[in-house]
Symmetry: D3
Subunit: 340 residues, 6 copies
């Protein structure tokens, strides 16, 4: 059985109830999530064996994170308890014509302060077949980037496949390095990435090309070029996302593999309950397909896109749907009848 390991940060997310603005809130709903965790938790929901590696402070909020990891059936045997604070962020949920707003408060968090050699990667990867990380982690701090490099080297050495969600967040890169200083070395080890073409190019210090995603040949050509920069890369996935407004998106998906481009049609998603984590849900769907669908890449991109769409209907960061629910969605082409 496949076992997937992931590494990254879990944040407390605080959001005003319903559609209230920050200055109307007398309480905040709290969930715990983060890109890499969201992906791995979704894989656990699909039935895979998983484990999450992170660092949290030795206090009750750190305990809350670990309870959360446990409750979704993700392994938590290799979590560091250190550092002074849990990273957190505030999000004001948008509605129709009003945007969501995010205020990050994650500086100096436990994971930003991990030093070298804190994780015993050889022990962590024992028995595992896949390692997943994202571009958020090397953006956090020099130390976090260093831990990423240790991890991908050891994973590669031990024969695990490696996937990466590029996830560029400009605000995070503020310890004196740019993504193109750090990511190219890290991405050498990746077998699968998700992200759009220009984000990948930026991280590899290539010019923007602003591809027309409706032109399949152009897109294939652009993906092909990316493959050339990254020798171990097999597959590139990408969510096609158009934001009509805060309650309405249009979502499709692309998967490039072995010089073929697979795509899933674009669907309207309306109304949106919570779009946070929908990219991570896509990532999990993609990994699940690559791991379990015997190189059926068309089925894989359909599954990944459906998983991404379903996430929009679920409160919180994690895609709380089973494999059966994703397949049921595909089989009914999204018509959501009462199950009774």
């Amino acid at each position: 059985m496949q076992k997937v390991i992931s590494f990254g940060e879990i944040l407390m997310r605080l959001s005003p109830p319903g559609n209230l603005r920050f200055d109307q809130a007398t309480s905040f709903n709290a969930v715990y999530g983060g890109g890499e965790f969201n992906a791995i938790a979704s894989l656990a929901n699909f039935g895979l064996k998983t484990e999450f590696v992170t660092a949290v402070p030795e206090n009750a909020l750190g305990d809350c994170v670990i309870n959360t990891i446990r409750s979704v059936n993700v392994g938590c045997e290799n979590i560091l308890r250190q550092g002074d604070r849990l990273g957190l962020y505030f999000i004001e949920m948008g509605a129709s014509v009003r945007s969501s707003n995010v205020i990050y408060d994650r500086a100096e968090s436990s994971i930003a302060q991990i030093g070298t050699n804190n994780f015993d990667w050889a022990k962590i990867f024992k028995g595992a077949t896949w390692f997943h990380w994202s571009g958020v982690t090397p953006a956090i701090s020099q130390e976090a980037a260093g831990a990423c490099l240790e991890a991908v080297k050891k994973a590669s050495e031990m024969g695990l496949k490696i996937s990466t969600d590029l996830n560029y967040r400009s605000k995070l890169w503020n310890y004196g390095k740019e993504p193109y200083d750090v990511m190219p070395e890290l991405l050498q080890y990746s077998n699968v990435i998700i992200g759009d073409i220009d984000t990948a190019r930026f991280m590899l210090k290539k010019d923007k090309i602003a591809p027309d995603y409706k032109n399949k040949d152009e897109v294939k050509q652009a993906f092909l070029e990316l493959m050339e920069f990254l020798p171990n890369l097999d597959s590139i996935g990408m969510v096609f996302r158009e934001s009509v407004n805060a309650s309405h998106e249009r979502i499709g998906g692309l998967l490039y593999n072995n010089n073929k481009l697979y795509s899933e049609k674009i669907r309207d998603v309306i109304p949106i309950v919570d779009r946070v984590g929908s990219g991570d849900a896509f990532m999990a769907g993609l990994l699940y397909g690559l791991l379990e669908f015997d190189e059926n890449f068309q089925k894989t991109i359909e599954f990944a896109t459906a998983a991404c769409i379903l996430k929009h209907s679920i409160f919180g960061d994690v895609n709380r749907v089973s494999k059966e629910e994703v397949i049921n969605f595909i089989d009914n082409d999204g018509a959501a009848k009462v199950k009774r």
Copy 2:
């Protein structure tokens, strides 16, 4: 003045708040409802004299049911207090692309355990003009089916008109009988039914015909054929319902009477607050029209369809709208302006 009696089960319905999934809920909203009660409560809201007959346990939850019946001005003078438990069900409310899920927990409820001759139907029907029941009740248990038969026989004998919502729920028929073993005898007494054509045919042990509901002649022919099997039948009503997703339906209505087919146009209903009980709201609208609109069948199907549509905007099982609100909806063709 018309007095309508109904008989059936009331369940406690437990649903996670808002759009939460079952495993995110730390509380459940509770309402009390059931197909037959929902219909009769809606008739009470329209201003008719009504009474509901059921059995509930002799405990505080049974009291809650009775308070609920009373609070919506439905009579509750003939309710049995017996049995060990109140039937209940859990519903996770879907949102946009995600379906609602129902978990029934109604086995061994008070009404499933009623014996023979527990209800004094002659007393119950005294002064009443109409009796309404649904296909859910005979599905619950042999005893419940027996009570139904006692009721329809006595109602018929005492000259009441009888209506039936076919309401086929396959999971409930598990006491060794199939609907076609039980329903044909019961339906002989019905003057009005609602349900789609193939459900009716299945209950009468006829082949499926999968009619094209957009072909009026075909539909009329199919209804005509049903009339032939059920000698007392005057009218057949049916909700036309297309589920776009969990937040969006398309609703219209059909009424067949005396070889004429009356229909109300299809409207988009978006967003949906709560679709549970919308069929019961249609039933109530239909009965109200048949009782009060002097054989104006077109007005009747318009009223029933509008009532059904309005129910989608109301939390809980019961259609909490007045006759005036239904008429106002029709008059404004659904444009819902602030009333002030």
Copy 3:
């Protein structure tokens, strides 16, 4: 720096949570608002210096009103504490096909009982450049209409510009006067009004003309005619609003100035969080543009319409958006992406 004064009533608004009907509510959400206050609070959010003049009772609810005024950075130095009760209203929020319902309970409120010469308008207007009032206030009582007249006379004498939201509420005019008995004198002093053409005509005791708002020449002609009745009038603004249902409106805007008609396109607003106060948000946007956009009337009507649309996404009466958010909305033509 501009300083805007407004005068009117603030009510406690009580609404059942979410989409519940009045008879389902075991609690009511409470906010404090009123047309004139909503407009002035929105101007404060845009960064102008403001003050609100009203009367509230000398009890804890009066204190709540004053805390509310203060918390949105509106001045409250000239508020009378008198009278027995705070006006209030109940609103049941509609959803999709179901209308919102309003029950007013504002009779005999503090402001309805103010006498003559209670406000020292010369002191209030000192240092101010603009005075805003609405047609609600003279509708409340003879005394309130008298205070309005004192205010507009003094404001005019002291050289302030004056704006008026016509805001006709038929239910309020019940102290023996009709709008056309009172409003013509009051409106003589107005430099800016908002309201539709037939409302203005009715208040001026002119015949209804039911203009076709899609015919620009016809509309211009109608506005021109209005200008003739009101010698000080410079500008007329109007929200174009079409209610598809309680969750969906179509909103555009018109501004007439110096014989030119400026308009902003119609946009779909779906879903609606809370439409109360959206006209006041338009008023505030219009005033802000007139005060700050150097006679750029096209920019003004775009700003006013965008402010009005954004209000629909915000719970409560007041448009809690900044100038930057309105501009951002215009720049992105309403596509509400997550800000992070």
Copy 4:
């Protein structure tokens, strides 16, 4: 079987959640209650046949009142729908050292505006054995006092027993009459009253005597004197209440009948959930005992005092306890073990 009629006002009560102060509340919990209704609803809970007579406006809030009456199994066949507004009051619940605060907003309510001969008392009292009213009603308005007088005269004429809760609220008597102008005539018809000695004396325009309630002889003498002023009076009941703080009271009870004084010991009640309506709960307990306990006055005062104490543990105005629960409380002397 006994049937008890009561007459008075039902108010909407709005209270901030938990222990919040008015200026911290963003919502208010809503219940519907009033002294006379609270008493009658409690009697219905004890199993008696009851009916409540009042006036409420013809709007959705009036409907809420009627649903409330119905849901507790009190008859509502003779309620007037008239007038503009439902009376309401705001209450900030105290906690430990902080007092509860009440803001009344009941002026010009439906019941304050009832005219003469609006109620058909002969029809209302048909089949009834007891009539209950309180000193709140004649305090509301001249019209309400007039209706009270009509009621007691007719009740007396038709042979009903009459009980009165003196309930002096100084703030309400503001239509130009004092209690001693109105109450003496009304009280002539009373068979039972509850209230303390000096309240009764004040209403009868006698001097205060400030009795020492621990001196039984003094108290008996004082009660005896009261009997002399009121020829039909049989019994006088009184709650002995000492407020330690907002979460802690000490409650006992006294009943005077036929020159004998019966008392129930004083118990500590801590913590208090909601003390509103505890006097009405005492009243109901007293009436129940007088009606059902075969002149066992000691049992009656024990039952009334226990009912009063239990009310302190129940949110809302109405004492939602059964007869069995009151008796169980007495039998266990207040030790509240889990029932399972």
Copy 5:
């Protein structure tokens, strides 16, 4: 390291918010718990390795139970997914003078329907050192009693120590057996029991002796006698509990071992947040002491009593306190200062 296994049922517990009565509740708070699980979860909180064995249905509510087990770090590798329903119960939380009320709805639950040989006890007990069960399980059904017997035999054979909470619930024993038909055989294997003397005697079919718990000699003598009936028994623990009212208890503890009686003083516990599971918390404290405190029985009874007391301050069934918090409570003798 010690590993403790437990076996029993987990129920969904539904309780009205705060102090509301059942008929006031529009929602129910939901937690998952049961005597044996509460004890084992508390041991996991104290830091021991644990596992819980049970049966839950193959639906979303069964998933919720398993998530709950996981989230508190209890093993769940040997849980059966079978049967139609999750047992549940409703509890109305008492307050001060009003009792809590429980309505059980656990008939025909998954665990009541387990057959023979469904659990592989040899595999389950591998590596474990202790097995804990309670008298609730054999009361549920013949099958559940049979599974208990299989378990204790295998546990004993494999050298595990066995503890039992007697937990007599008369309402559950309704499958034709009495406790004294079933428990004596089961208890032969127990090394530790908790329960009061007369409950133990009843289960062993001995006469009641109603011991005076303040007389140490009498109590010792009674415990000694119990030891004689149960050859493997080492220790007997007992909570001393006096219910002043629903918000106030007086709690102490007794532990009998090797003819010595250890006791912890009685403390007032006021106010009580939630007393459900406090006996299980005592059980867990006792086991923890017996496992970890090197035969320091005085320290053990102090720890168990403190754990029991602390549970009263925690919402839900499980004692969510750490070992450090229990010790801190003892060290400060219950004075709960803010930790900052």
Copy 6:
């Protein structure tokens, strides 16, 4: 009229609802407070003119702080908008035998990062008569301590009286300085301090003396000694606080002035709603008395102690009571009757 200025940090406080533990919370209640702000807001409630000086980030959470300051009628004209984050803390509210727990997360907050000369103290103090600060601020960072020193020097120079709450929080002093390195210089300027004797001695680097607070002579002697170290000191106030458990404290007060010791008796406070900020409430009461009670020191300590006690009944950090409510508490010696 007196105008009081204060300077310090405002934190967002996040607490699980009711009595839930951190790991049970799915939401957190949010209020904004801090020792110095709590004191000044309480003074504003008592009717004094006040202003608060602080630094908050230029984001929506900073806006929330400013709205909070405004809403309680405290001036906010001199607040810096700078720095990356708002300090925050999490508090789990204890109940009965369980302690409250605090997790601070205030490192690197806006105020910790203020530089030198950022505040124009001369402008700030213009027209003011009193400056209040606490020992928390110099503990935050070198910069914050520097700003304190600037402030007290300028305040002293401009003739303001200065008060200080010693408020020793050991966890905060971690920038390389100890309180006795910093506080002695700062305290030279104080006219009034509150704090217990050994805290003061520690900050002045004197030995602990552990005075017996029940021995008045010993206490007077100890206060006298403190006066000698601080030449400008006039008065020392102190809350006498004994924590029985998390729901029960015993509170009294001491005030030393001009070699006289004034005291207020100790009262039981039970149950406690929220004890956070009760020391600040005492501080505010003390200042109010010193400013307004014409050297009536006995009245001052009674007022301060009563204010402190009342705070325990109010949710949130700020003592939301008026001067009249404090006096009413004193006049009734704490018996909290309903006000109506």
